[in-house]
């Protein structure tokens, strides 16, 4: 089956892509750039960098902009999916939804209207098990936004590894944050995965801090480097 993936550049959509690509041909990435930084549907941080991930993956990208009003976002998403159907003859959509009924049910409705398949391969996955799978399968994932106590700007740019996972598990126990960040506590950006043909090196970035527990890593410049090249060169 030919599929497209709703792609935000973070760990969820990249891992969903990894699962889906084992069984199906992924014809394109679909990315929605929302001008509303508080969009319920779409990740906004790092969205300008998806073209680099598309190149690293060697999968074409369909990008759509939306002003980010609640239901307008869905009309724009539907247009983007229609374009993927016309351009790549896709028969279904893959999403990285884990627990959000808000997101998944809206995408299910669009797929039903367009008479295509909808796959959510991470649906109801245990959050900690999910993070362990990401680490085990050699994804390189960095935190690009934090929005919950006790997270702070020192977490920005940190790579997901067992040490960070232990910290997130402790925060889950003590402060009830969702360790995988599906509640918006953290947003991530994938710089390397088993499907990437190149990895992404960050050349220039800066931190924008709204408050002590709300901040973003703004990535201004990246370049693709060979997988065996050190990211520190």
């Amino acid at each position: 089956m030919k599929l497209a993936i709703l792609y935000s550049g973070g760990k969820d959509s990249n891992y969903a892509l990894y699962e889906a690509s084992r069984k199906h041909k992924i014809k394109c990435l679909i990315s929605i750039k929302s001008k509303n930084p508080y969009s319920y549907m779409f990740q906004t941080n790092g969205i300008n960098l998806i073209k680099h991930q598309s190149l690293a993956l060697n999968i074409p990208l369909i990008e759509f902009e939306t002003i980010g009003k609640k239901e307008e976002e869905l009309k724009d998403l539907k247009k983007a999916i229609k374009l993927a159907i016309q351009k790549y003859s896709i028969e279904g959509i893959v999403t990285g939804a884990i627990n959000s009924i808000y997101q998944s049910s809206r995408i299910q409705k669009i797929c039903k209207e367009l008479n295509i398949w909808c796959f959510n391969p991470l649906w109801q996955k245990d959050q900690v098990e999910f993070l362990k799978d990401i680490i085990k399968n050699n994804f390189e994932v960095i935190i690009v936004s934090i929005a919950s106590y006790p997270l702070n700007k020192n977490y920005l740019g940190r790579k997901l590894n067992n040490e960070l996972l232990d910290e997130l598990i402790q925060m889950q126990k003590k402060y009830k944050i969702n360790p995988a960040g599906e509640g918006g506590e953290i947003e991530t950006f994938v710089i390397n995965s088993p499907l990437f043909n190149y990895k992404i090196k960050i050349i220039n970035s800066n931190i924008e801090e709204d408050s002590e527990n709300s901040a973003e890593l703004i990535i201004n410049e990246v370049k693709l480097i060979k997988k065996n090249e050190s990211i520190n060169n």
Binding site: E19, K23, S105, K109, C111, I116, W117, F119, P121, K125
Partner: protein, 183 residues
């Protein structure tokens, strides 16, 4: 005795298995021994080793199971308990000569309990997730335990522990599956 989880996706390795079978497996594996089988692999003689069967849901666009309904006639003679979720509920209805009709619910719905039952004990129905494009109006020999605004949601056989549930309890009402496993 073990629980048999039946995968109703159009093929065994479907990507939908992650979405509709794995969440059920994650609930069952905490307390019970179990096997997972694709419906096309059901062999009647092997069902004796199970005392419970769960028929999972599947994708909105997946109706391949309707072409293989004869496989599921064992439900009528199976000695143990049966829980059918969404497509699994459709199958129970069809095996008992009911009809399924076009009618969709996608997202959160409100559930009203019509009749108390042991599998509904201690369940918070504040959030209930539905994902279906067909529904069952009534099933002969079954009573209705719960309804949403639009459709009957939970059916129970009058004399056996056979339950047909239109919504997806594995998403926001996991206790319902846990109660079924305790029967």
């Amino acid at each position: 005795m073990k629980v048999l989880i039946i995968n109703l996706c159009y093929k065994k390795e479907s990507l939908s298995s992650n979405e509709f079978v794995k969440p059920i497996e994650n609930i069952v594996k905490k307390t019970k021994k179990y096997d997972i089988i694709h419906y096309l692999d059901i062999k009647k003689k092997k069902l004796k080793q199970y005392n419970k069967i769960i028929l999972c849901g599947n994708a909105l666009k997946d109706f391949e199971y309707l072409n293989h309904l004869e496989i599921f006639n064992f439900i009528k003679t199976f000695k143990g308990d049966v829980l059918g979720i969404c497509a699994g509920a459709h199958i129970i209805g069809l095996v008992y000569n009911s009809k399924i009709k076009e009618g969709k619910e996608i997202g959160l719905i409100n559930i009203k309990i019509i009749k108390e039952d042991i599998i509904l004990n201690n369940i918070n129905f504040d959030q209930t997730y539905a994902l279906h494009s067909k529904y069952i109006e009534k099933i002969n020999k079954f009573e209705i335990l719960a309804q949403s605004q639009n459709y009957n949601q939970i059916f129970k056989h009058k004399n056996k522990n056979i339950y047909a549930i239109l919504f997806h309890p594995e998403v926001r009402n996991k206790e319902l599956i846990i109660n079924f496993l305790k029967l």
